[in-house]
């Protein structure tokens, strides 16, 4: 125990036999981890000319989870420039060297809208998009209706699927430098959010021309986007951490998002399902994304109030997903740099 309080000053350090020592030797024992006397801190190292109390070097006090969470959040905030740079890099790299550049992020959803328009106009011919009427009586073309749902869905889907490999794809960074690891999946979701911003601008423009002006309900958009964003971040944290230990996730996530897409009223309306298949309706209502997609369409193109109950359920799910994702990520991240 005396060792624990050894104050090291080079000129006065004496070996046990009383001779003046020119060198400091740490004990260098092969104590088993957990041995008590080591915990007491047989700290004998150090400083040539400085005088230090060993007590300063003891293990840090255990913190409560609230404080840990706040500390993690502060760390994340401190790394915001890095996050911004990662998002910027993501967007730049994805489209650099291609002829259309940034326009690609718009072309893809527009082409998909064109494809589905063709299918539902000429092949299937079902009124899948029959939804609430607009108060001003304007008809909403299927293409606009679908593009609206697709844009908010894409925010979620591209964010989650891109983040899945965000950690395993950054091994070169993990091994060389420390930063809060959660920056990686969060940056993936943020770059999906930027792409969504472009799509949303186009959507508003098209809606103004093809349908009509929005109503006051459009002010709900930030709330809805926040719910989707939180869900995506929660899932992104969870999946990116799991993928480190189980690489199958990368392949699995594609089909998983396909199933989820068809389980969400993006291409069809909730009203259509309620009429055609009431049994499936309950299943759809259990989907955390249903409320967000339906509400987003209601407030942006249909000028109707959001589906509040479903949206609230989605928000609750988002919180649960975020907590789960954060917990799993925080627990597994310490070994990322060794495994990746």
């Amino acid at each position: 125990m005396i060792d624990a309080l050894v104050v090291v000053s080079r000129a006065t350090l004496r070996e046990p036999d009383g001779s003046l020592s020119g060198r400091f030797r740490s004990e260098g024992t092969v104590a088993a981890p957990g041995s008590q006397d080591r915990l007491a801190g047989s700290l004998r190292s150090v400083a040539t000319s400085t005088v230090q109390a060993a007590s300063r070097l003891g293990p840090p006090p255990q913190q409560g989870w609230v404080r840990r969470f706040l500390a993690a959040f502060a760390e994340l905030w401190a790394a915001r420039e890095l996050t911004g740079n990662l998002v910027r890099r993501d967007l730049k790299v994805r489209h650099r060297g291609t002829f259309l550049g940034m326009l690609w992020s718009l072309t893809t959803p527009l082409l998909i809208v064109g494809l589905y328009y063709f299918i539902f106009k000429f092949i299937i011919k079902a009124a899948v998009a029959q939804d609430l009427p607009r108060p001003d009586g304007q008809a909403v073309p299927f293409a606009v209706y679908f593009f609206c749902g697709l844009s908010i869905w894409n925010l979620f889907a591209t964010g989650v699927s891109a983040s899945t490999s965000s950690v395993i794809g950054s091994g070169y960074l993990l091994n060389k430098v420390y930063f809060p690891r959660s920056v990686l999946p969060i940056a993936s979701v943020l770059s999906a959010l930027v792409t969504f911003g472009f799509e949303f601008a186009v959507l508003v423009f098209i809606t103004l021309i093809a349908v009509g002006p929005p109503s006051i309900y459009v002010l709900w958009v930030p709330v809805i986007v926040a719910v989707v964003f939180l869900q995506a971040v929660g899932l992104a944290l969870l999946l990116s951490a799991v993928t480190v230990y189980l690489r199958d996730m990368v392949h699995f996530i594609g089909i998983f998002m396909q199933v989820w897409f068809w389980s969400t009223p993006v291409i069809y309306s909730l009203i259509y399902v309620a009429r055609e298949s009431p049994a499936a309706l309950n299943l759809l209502k259990a989907n955390p994304m249903t409320g967000a997609v339906v509400s987003f369409r209601n407030v942006v193109v249909l000028n109707n109030p959001p589906a509040l109950k479903l949206l609230a359920y989605g928000a609750a799910c988002a919180v649960v997903m975020a907590v789960m994702g954060t917990t799993v990520f925080a627990r597994s991240q310490r070994r990322f740099s060794e495994i990746v």
Binding site: S26, T50, P59, N85, R89, R96, V177
Partner: protein
């Protein structure tokens, strides 16, 4: 002064997987991963004082890099704690955070933010960085189109532009050409003068001796010694040489050793002895040094002559050589011991190798030669002024004012 980095009883193990299951199929089929646990760090207690430049030395696989990565928070210890006071930038390789598709300019900002630098600070230093890399006109093209030299210069410029409170450097920085290294050391010197803490891992003892005020010697995951650089380096060198000496003994039994000659006489033992008569392998400049050589002659018909030669280890520069003929010392015919004593060792800090040879009077007929088989090291003598080169020579300086020409 406070402590910049405090490692308290740090243990770190790696799992060496014989078969790692990464896929679901493998996970299901083989329930358990087969692995061995390897303890890279075993209870490290180490404090780096604020403003110190600490070198970490040790053999390959001793845990130096693991310790460094633990300090940089890249690795989390299994047990124990690492406390760091201040911002840390680890420089473990050049070009961390670079992306080939991004331009030079974008990569500067990217890499600096990865290293924990603020954008505003980087903006201030941007011109300096591009000027340092000497590629101002190429800053707006993607680095994938750079030559490897341009890439390395930019990466290097970024690396040395960082200004954290604590800098953690692996020896990767010692790659690159000489001008890089010189600038690197100048920069480290600047940072040290600003009172920043530097932790440096290197294999090169001269680098450690030259740069660091303090050193820690890591051996098999434990701290073997901490203290002033000269002390620790001397201890380390002595230990390495002891191991090498054992190795030499083994090598002696093999005919393939660096040994040749007719065998009419043989050198049976060579040792280096200090002023107290102790056999050692590390000396200080100015200390007495005696080389002691035992021999046995079997069938020598001519006069027996013993010679020694001393060379600088790193470049094998031949420093001096003497023999018993020149000195007029006859050797006993059958068996004996020869000593060569330097009352004041003139060699400066470094490693030296020694040739010993037995031959006839003409020097044409070699009985036994041990070529570059023995070595000793010289460490700085703190009581003597610092000199350049390999040798201490006595000389006198004088100076006077020149008469003003009319």
């Amino acid at each position: 002064m406070g402590v910049a980095i405090a490692c308290h009883d740090v243990w770190k193990s790696y799992r060496i997987y014989h078969q790692r299951s990464h896929t679901l199929k493998e996970k299901v089929l083989s329930r358990r991963n087969v692995f061995e646990e390897f303890w890279a760090l075993r209870g490290i207690d180490l404090a780096v004082p604020e403003g110190a430049t600490m070198g970490i030395i040790g053999a390959n696989g001793s845990g130096k890099s693991t310790l460094l990565k633990t300090m940089a928070r890249i690795l989390t210890p299994n047990k124990g704690s690492v406390m760091v006071n201040g911002s840390v930038s680890p420089l473990l390789e050049l070009g961390t955070g670079f992306h080939p598709e991004l331009t030079g300019r974008e990569n500067v900002f990217m890499a600096c933010s990865v290293l924990g630098q603020k954008r505003r600070d980087v903006e201030d230093r941007y011109d300096q960085i591009s000027a340092f890399a000497e590629i101002e006109s190429f800053m707006d093209i993607p680095v994938k189109n750079y030559s490897s030299g341009m890439y390395a210069r930019l990466a290097f410029a970024v690396a040395i532009s960082v200004e954290p409170e604590i800098l953690i450097i692996d020896e990767v920085l010692s790659v690159g050409d000489e001008s890089f290294q010189i600038r690197c050391y100048q920069r480290l010197e600047e940072l040290r003068a600003q009172g920043r803490t530097i932790v440096l891992v290197s294999h090169s003892l001269p680098t450690i001796s030259g740069m660091c005020t303090e050193a820690a010697w890591v051996d098999h995951g434990e701290i073997r010694e901490v203290g002033t650089t000269d002390d620790v380096v001397a201890g380390y060198v002595a230990a390495v040489h002891n191991e090498a000496a054992e190795f030499t003994e083994q090598a002696e039994q093999h005919p393939a050793g660096k040994r040749y000659g007719s065998g009419q006489a043989e050198i049976t033992d060579v040792s280096f002895v200090d002023g107290d008569g102790q056999e050692v392998s590390s000396f200080r400049t100015g200390d007495p040094l005696t080389m002691r050589l035992a021999y046995r002659a079997h069938a020598v018909d001519d006069e027996l002559v013993c010679g020694i030669g001393v060379l600088r280890a790193e470049n094998l520069a031949y420093l001096f050589g003497q023999n018993t003929v020149q000195a007029g010392v006859p050797l006993p015919r059958n068996e004996g011991t020869v000593e060569f004593t330097l009352p004041s060792l003139p060699l400066l800090k470094g490693e030296y190798v020694v040739n010993v040879v037995l031959h006839d009077r003409s020097g044409r007929h070699i009985y036994d030669c041990h070529d570059r088989k023995y070595w000793f090291s010289v460490v700085e003598n703190s009581t003597m002024p610092i000199e350049g080169g390999m040798m201490h020579v006595t000389g006198e300086w004088s100076a006077w004012t020149s008469p003003v020409s009319a």
